[in-house]
Symmetry: C2
Subunit: 141 residues, 2 copies
């Protein structure tokens, strides 16, 4: 069972404090703050890393699903947007929007849409994010 470890810290209070997230494999650091997370300011946020994770998982899983269906995918590229809002006093990731571009020789659009929609509910990160509505807008390029 592969396990992946990462870390983060937060120093101080909610609005005046600041945090840093770190990845395990590259050591890359993502500074974040109340301003960067809740007010759209400069810096990172946990939701940005959720968007990266879902974009990566979806791209890999769609390629795998296309291969299973007999195609030889050249490239799947996904842009993910995490929508984070405060409704009734509670911050939540309400939805994530995926814009998907596939370079898939020999497939028609109907088949591509069918497979892309199946991947939306099958990819491991999408299943982990069980309370988040995921929208997929897929096109062949």
């Amino acid at each position: 069972m592969p396990s992946r470890t990462a870390s983060a810290q937060w120093n101080g209070k909610l609005k005046s404090g600041k945090g840093t997230m770190r990845s395990g494999s590259s050591g890359a650091e993502y500074p974040f703050s109340f301003n960067s997370r809740m007010e759209g300011g400069n810096g990172s946020s946990p939701e940005e890393l959720l968007a990266s994770a879902l974009a990566g998982c979806y791209s890999m899983a769609l390629s795998a699903d296309l291969e299973k269906a007999g195609f030889d995918p050249t490239q799947v590229k996904t842009t993910a947007t995490a929508n984070f809002s405060n409704t009734s006093g509670k911050w939540s990731v309400d939805s994530m929007d995926l814009v998907v571009e596939g370079m898939i020789p020999g497939i028609d659009d109907a088949k591509f849409q069918e497979i892309a929609n199946g991947t939306k509910t099958a990819c491991p990160v999408a299943r982990a994010l069980a309370s988040v509505k995921i929208n997929v807008n897929a096109k062949l390029v």
Copy 2:
């Protein structure tokens, strides 16, 4: 409503292909592959970024919950491990383990444990990851 965007791509088939995840704010790139994701090889994985996101969200949310309870938190540091396994032919994030170290002047351990357990079900990323069992091991340092 703050939105956060990130992207990724996968080139080729499942086992012989390779992918890259990118963050929006820093442009940092995380290469990944079947080997790095499913076999514990070098490189990144979507689950690593989920672990970073949960560690960051939990650290910030626990600091906020401690502040709400009247404390003045110095630091909350969280290490998150995502456990990813293939059971009955389907890869899933089964659980995530959080090891939390709090520097909180004037709190006793019982109160700290109570608040740390509350944050486990309240933080936005934990709620988004609704199908994942989250375990918290918290200590004062």
